[in-house]
């Protein structure tokens, strides 16, 4: 990677969009009429303790929400996978792994993408069982 980066490139990398006033506690808002949000991945800023608490509470609430959402997402996925697994085992029974090997060999050249989807399925099925 070239060490020389034009100002425009740097700007493009950092500028990820405008933020709304609602995302920033009023006490932290910038005076600019159109505040721009810069990505600061590993940076610290000095804030008062009360502001730190505000930020912390906000981040905690956001993360709790995100964790809840992800857990629900995982539960829903697993629920649906269970349903599909019943259908698939009903159709293929215990031949699934044998059939998988045969199918993979046959399709090695003919239909790589299908074989891939198929391998993923086999993996998922085993994972799901464990």
């Amino acid at each position: 990677m070239s060490p020389r980066v034009s100002a425009q490139e740097a700007k493009n990398d950092m500028l990820i969009g405008q933020t709304s006033h609602t995302e920033i506690p009023p006490s932290l808002s910038f005076s600019s009429p159109r505040p721009l949000r810069y990505k600061l991945p590993d940076t610290f800023i000095h804030v008062k303790q009360s502001d730190a608490l505000t930020l912390l509470e906000r981040d905690t609430a956001r993360i709790d929400e995100e964790i809840e959402r992800l857990k629900q997402h995982i539960d829903e996925s697993e629920e649906e996978m269970k349903r599909l697994k019943v259908l698939l085992y009903g159709k293929f029974g215990n031949n699934i792994s044998e059939w998988r090997a045969r199918r993979t060999r046959r399709d090695r050249l003919a239909d790589v993408s299908l074989a891939r989807a198929h391998n993923r399925f086999g993996e998922g099925l085993r994972r799901h069982e464990s």
């Binding site: 912390l56 995982i74 996978m81």
Partner: protein, 53 residues
């Protein structure tokens, strides 16, 4: 194998990938939450009016 069967398998595969992505993300978020909890403890030890990072 019928087209319908292949669709079932693809659906399963897609769900499995999605679940796996969500699990990775969940682990990341839980680590982040632990960090926030540590910060919360640290904050309680800080004097009022003192600047903190």
């Amino acid at each position: 194998m019928s087209f319908e069967d292949q669709k079932l398998i693809n659906a399963f595969s897609r769900l499995n990938n999605r679940r796996s992505d969500a699990e990775d993300d969940l682990k990341k978020q839980e680590r982040e939450k632990e960090a926030l909890e540590e910060v919360s403890l640290e904050l309680e030890l800080v004097d009022e009016d003192e600047e903190v990072l």
